[in-house]
Amino acid sequence: MMGSEIKDKAAPGYKDLVLEVKDLVVHYVLQEETVEAVNGISLSLEKGKTIGLVGETGAGKTTAALAIMNLVPDPPGVIKGGTINVCGYNMLKLSSRQLEKIRGKEVSMIFQDPMTSLNPVITVGDQIAESVMLHEKLSYSQAFRRAREMLEMVGIPGDRATEYPHQFSGGMKQRVGIAIALACNPKLLLADEPTTALDVTIQAQVLDMIDELKRELGTALVMITHDLGVVAKTCDLVAVMYAGRIVEYGTLEDVFDRTMHPYTEGLFNSLPDIRNRKNQLQPIPGLMPDPTNLPRDCSFAPRCRYVSDACREAQPTKHQVSDTHIVYCSAYDDSNFQIERARGRGGNG
């Protein structure tokens, strides 16, 4: 029934491509103002791969993820343009009925805050079983058995399925969230800061677990995070976002070892260096621009240490550095331009 009319067969090579986003624009239209949350992002992801969406709060990472699920609250959210293709389904063209069948089954999401994303008055077993029963023709007892299996899979004794969320620690709650997300074996998993609320050793456990499950089930993963350590550990591809746009896009090595964009450099400079504690932190001065009033030129220009007049004239130009590496920065119109991080490496790497 979910047949050909929904599947967008025109999507190129949709067998391997699990996710393809093109020129996505999402705005929140309020009475007095419009929040320009996502302003034309494109990305694609193959089966079993992981892409990291990196950026600060307000960069549009979560909105992008919600749009992929077609879960942007409307009103005030409006998807102004672009296409989203998940496993061959055109997510923006589906009815809410059809979406319900896809969400949880083909694509599901792990939310940031395990403390609030679970229902406090329903046992964790029932919460996992709920999503199973929605998507598969199983009886309650079968679904509950699956719920217990899922709990075991994420390292929680199955007997605890009858307990309520408050009886679990933070790390365990997040694992319950992961169990719910993976209960129907989705092809695409969106993880919105899945380990931000967790302790280091638990974070390491959860990341290892996501990694293992990903390999086992071949799930493609969109990892939304601000933690470059998490990116280094989990991602194949990285998209650095700023003010609703992707400013740098490439493989992990491209973005980390051959950093091009001044904002990406700024993120690295903001991090304490565990190997050199005397190292001064160099925060990026200022704040993200107001998303209701984005400049027409480069939105990073006011915070950028390399800013020049050219940056103030138009949107940054796109530079395809290599097959995999793209940077949006007008400074590279000058072919001799290098950021400091690149100079430190003694060349363009």
Partner: protein, 328 residues
């Protein structure tokens, strides 16, 4: 050596629950030197926040002493404590939950000033002047004075929390995970701000966090806690270069380094954190420890000075460098 501002001696905090006694903090002792930062790290439930709250007597310890400038603050009268409280402040973890959503920035920052009758409620001009001064100190723009917390981002909200803590011109600030809710670039701004304030105002910090790279950057000394007890205490450099307790080693190995291929093999710990309810009198880490042996059930290991300034509580690590547990 700097003067000791706070001496913590045999601090114990138990919580009675229907299931038994939770040993949140179980007999810990350490000194906090004036003008320095002492970092307390550990996972949730290790007692670091309870310790922080006991330090400024927000919760009353079950037993033990907290000696602030020679006075045991747990034994002070209410009125004396109220006076002393001005010198000790706390910055909370969650800038979303620790600010009253129905008050403007002006009201939030002015509250301690009014409560302690530093400025009279009627003197609107003086209040505004002082609040603007504080806002300037923490880098909040003047125009924000009449906004509500929900209108601001996490970094700015945390700055409000810092401004509020600074209002009483404290000497001693407990920072309870002050940057864990913030973005990296903002986190760096707040860390630099806290350092600057420490330099300018001579503040003494207790910095409670679970983020090891932050604590490494920020602290002079580090205390590692596990299930209510101190397992290791050392100067920051020493701790990171030469961690001796198996738990510290595992903790450090779990740090994710933001560089390609830099993430080494993690030391895997077995099982989960044990229950803090009526723990048996043995090493609390024993069942999860990779070096577990019979010796480990010989009572709770005491915190011993292994090399000068480096304290470890482990049956297997003996003083004077004959450590049987090698740092990996």
């Amino acid at each position: 050596m700097a003067e000791v501002l706070v001496r913590v001696r045999n601090l114990v905090k138990y919580f009675k629950t229907s299931r038994g006694v939770v040993h949140a903090v179980d007999d810990i002792s350490f000194d906090i030197e004036e003008g320095k930062t002492i970092g307390i790290v550990g996972e949730s439930g290790c007692g670091k926040s309870t310790t922080g709250r006991c330090l400024i007597c927000l919760i009353e310890p079950t037993s033990g002493e907290i000696i602030y400038r020679g006075q045991d603050i747990c034994r002070l009268k209410r009125s004396e404590m109220k006076k002393l409280r001005k010198e000790m402040q706390i910055i909370f973890q969650d800038p979303y939950a620790s600010l009253n959503p129905r008050k403007t920035l002006l009201q939030i920052i002015a509250e301690p000033l009014l409560y302690n009758k530093i400025i009279r409620t009627k003197d609107k001009f003086a209040i505004e002047k002082r609040v603007l001064e504080l806002m300037d100190k923490v880098g909040l723009a003047e125009r924000l004075i009449n906004t509500y917390p929900h209108e601001l981002d996490g970094g700015r909200r945390q700055r409000i929390g810092i401004a509020r803590a600074l209002a009483m011109e404290p000497k001693f600030i407990v920072c309870d995970e002050p940057v864990s809710a913030l973005d990296v670039s903002i986190q760096a701004q707040i860390l630099n701000l806290l350092k600057e304030l420490q330099r300018d105002l001579g503040l003494t910090y207790v910095f409670i966090t679970h983020d090891l790279s932050v604590v490494n950057h920020f602290s002079d000394d580090i205390v590692v806690m596990y299930l209510g007890q101190i397992v290791e205490k050392a100067p920051a450099d020493e701790l990171f270069e030469n961690p001796l307790h198996p738990y510290t080693q595992a903790l450090l190995s779990a740090i994710l380094i933001p560089a390609v291929g830099a993430n080494r093999e993690r030391i895997k710990l077995r099982g989960e954190l044990a229950s803090p309810i009526d723990p048996p009198p043995v090493c609390r880490f024993d069942k999860r420890c990779n070096y577990y042996c019979q010796d480990c059930d010989n009572g709770v290991p005491p915190l011993l000075e292994i090399t000068p300034g480096h304290f470890v509580a482990c049956h297997l690590v003996k003083p004077r460098g004959n450590a049987t547990v090698k740092a990996s």
